[in-house]
């Protein structure tokens, strides 16, 4: 009796699964960059509402996961937010879908408003350890950085150049926790995606250039990284349609409205 019941429910479940898959929806999976994940979700929702026969799933995981899963086929599109794509990504077709500024941020109580690129480098390398050396109060600097492997960190380090992060820098594992740490500690300095600046933290000018959308589009603010969509093989079919949609005026408008920068 029990056996029959178990067998029946098993058949039922498998049947349901097969039936569901057979409904003919084309599915696209995106995975990777956590910085772009919320934007990809919004774009996917918009695209799906106008194309009901397409199902788009967006997963995070980080840039490395994006590259890995595009290579392995676990996701059709891998998202990566790196300045320089690693070796493994060379075989993939890369499309820049957006750009993202990386803001150098401090606590709002901090008097300092501007740092040169050299000063930023020296602070993160541990050569400058007190805010008075760059025009602030006589208090030690608490450096906050991201974990090794983070797309934001490697982009930041490559653009600023020659960064060998000092030993006792605090490490936080997301843009959000960097923001909380800097908001809580009056002596700290960190960096995060430009779209995530709010009133709890203050973005510094770097080389007298403000980190604003206008300044980044004009090409004045230098710490900017591209966001790539990586696809195995050439762009075609539904995947191409979706990427075309993101690059269209409507898609780029969404990206801009939510705090990122359009690709062109």
């Amino acid at each position: 009796m029990l056996k029959k019941f178990l067998l029946l429910s098993f058949v039922l479940i498998v049947g349901l699964m097969v039936w569901n898959c057979g409904k003919g929806k084309t599915s696209i999976t995106l995975a990777g960059s956590t910085a772009f994940q919320p934007f990809a979700e919004t774009l996917a929702d918009q695209y799906m509402s106008s194309h009901p026969d397409i199902a788009i799933t967006v997963q995070g995981g980080g840039s490395a996961v994006g590259i890995q899963s595009a290579n392995s086929g676990a996701a059709q599109i891998g998202m990566a937010d790196l300045v320089m794509l690693p070796e493994e990504a060379k075989a993939l077709t890369a499309t820049i879908v957006a750009k993202d500024g990386i803001a150098v941020v401090v606590n709002p109580q901090n008097k300092v408003v501007n740092l040169s690129t050299d000063q930023v480098r020296d602070i993160f390398n541990g050569k400058i350890t007190n805010w008075k050396e760059v025009g602030g109060n006589d208090v030690p600097i608490t450096v906050v950085s991201r974990e090794a492997g983070s797309g934001t960190r490697s982009s930041f380090e490559q653009i600023v150049g020659n960064i060998n992060l000092k030993r006792d820098a605090l490490i936080q594992d997301s843009n959000g926790t960097i923001r909380e740490t800097v908001a809580n500690d009056a002596n700290s300095i960190g960096y995060l995606s430009h779209g995530l600046i709010n009133e709890k933290i203050k973005a510094l000018k770097v080389d007298d250039q403000e980190c604003t959308t206008e300044s980044i589009i004009a090409g004045n603010y230098k710490i900017v990284r591209p966001i790539y969509f990586l696809v195995k093989g050439s762009l075609q079919g539904e995947i191409k349609n979706f990427i075309d949609y993101i690059l269209s005026d409507e898609g780029q408008k969404t990206i801009k409205a939510d705090g990122l920068l359009p690709a062109k």
């Binding site: 995981g61 980080g62 840039s63 490395a64 996961v65 590259i67 890995q68 493994e88 608490t142 974990e147 090794a148 492997g149 983070s150 797309g151 490697s154 030993r167 006792d168 820098a169 605090l170 490490i171 936080q172 594992d173 926790t177 909380e180 740490t181 809580n184 500690d185 700290s188």
Partner: protein
């Protein structure tokens, strides 16, 4: 019919028991098979005793993290064990039973609070307090020790209480009959009689402290640094794995599994030291 169900129950229980053991074996096998090749390739000595952890340059030294894990665990013990044992003694000896029956479940509720919440309180309340009063970045060895010390309290208190209550009534009566005060009874009779249970509670607490990840990531600051004072930021072995796993590929990923192997070994060593200590005391008695 009865015989069949009797046998069936035995089989089901056996299957359940084996599934727990095989899960443990599979986990151990998986971590070791992913991590060991890296240790052989990179060199055990270099991996354990170098203090350079720079995955992008191919340098993987976890010495600072081993030191940090041990310090954080010791710190949690220093904070949690005296508080827990004192609390257990007070609740079981000085407080009426009806009151204890309310307070003990309340303390055990501490164990049901998710570790993220502890971490959050650490970041929002404890770290600013430490930063303002003692200096340093606030997110530090000290704050991690205090938070972990509080987290292990329910384990230490409830197991200690259970073992103290298991001391036969006649021991207490005998002690009081000889004219001993309550405190004399506690430290000369009750603590001695329930020693193995109290030590076991501290060891279980230690196990929780060394394995805790989320709260530690939030309050310890995570810099790869050998601490020179309790105010320095540290990264534990568990935090290292959780922080970098999502981004790691290739050799870096293997190095994280190897970190897991070392953590596994550290915990086995600590546990066996502890159980040997218990056994010795039992024999003495």
């Amino acid at each position: 019919m009865k015989l069949i169900s009797e046998k069936g129950v035995k089989r089901i229980l056996m299957a359940t028991a084996f599934s727990a053991i095989s899960a443990l074996l599979l986990i151990a096998l998986f971590i070791i098979s992913e991590g060991l090749p890296f240790i052989f390739k990179y060199g055990l000595k270099e991996f354990l005793f170098s203090s350079d952890w720079q995955p992008h340059l191919g340098k993987f030294g976890i010495y600072p993290m081993i030191v940090a894990s041990l310090w954080v665990t010791l710190g949690a013990m220093v904070v949690g064990a005296p508080l827990g044992v004192a609390g257990a003694l007070f609740l079981s000896e000085y407080v009426p039973k009806s009151v204890m029956n309310i307070i003990k479940p309340t303390i055990e509720l501490l164990a049901a609070i998710p570790s993220v919440v502890y971490g959050f309180i650490g970041v929002m309340v404890l770290a600013p307090l430490i930063r303002d009063n003692f200096g340093g970045p606030g997110l530090s060895l000290l704050s991690a020790s205090i938070i972990l010390g509080i987290m292990i309290l329910p384990t230490v208190i409830s197991i200690s209480i259970d073992s103290i209550l298991a001391v036969p009534r006649s021991y207490r009566e005998g002690s009081y009959a000889l004219g001993a005060t309550t405190w004399q009874t506690i430290h000369m009779v009750i603590v001695k009689a329930s020693k193995s249970g109290i030590i076991a509670s501290i060891i279980l607490g230690m196990g929780r402290a060394i394995g805790e990840t989320m709260a530690v990531i939030m309050v310890a600051g995570n810099s790869v640094n050998i601490p020179h004072s309790p105010l320095d930021s540290v990264r534990t072995l568990t935090a290292n794995i959780a922080l970098e796993m999502s981004y790691a590929t290739g050799l870096h990923r293997q190095a994280l599994f190897a970190t897991g192997v070392i953590l596994f070994i550290v915990i086995i060593i600590l546990n066996s030291i502890a159980s040997v200590a218990i056994r010795k005391r039992m024999v003495k008695r």
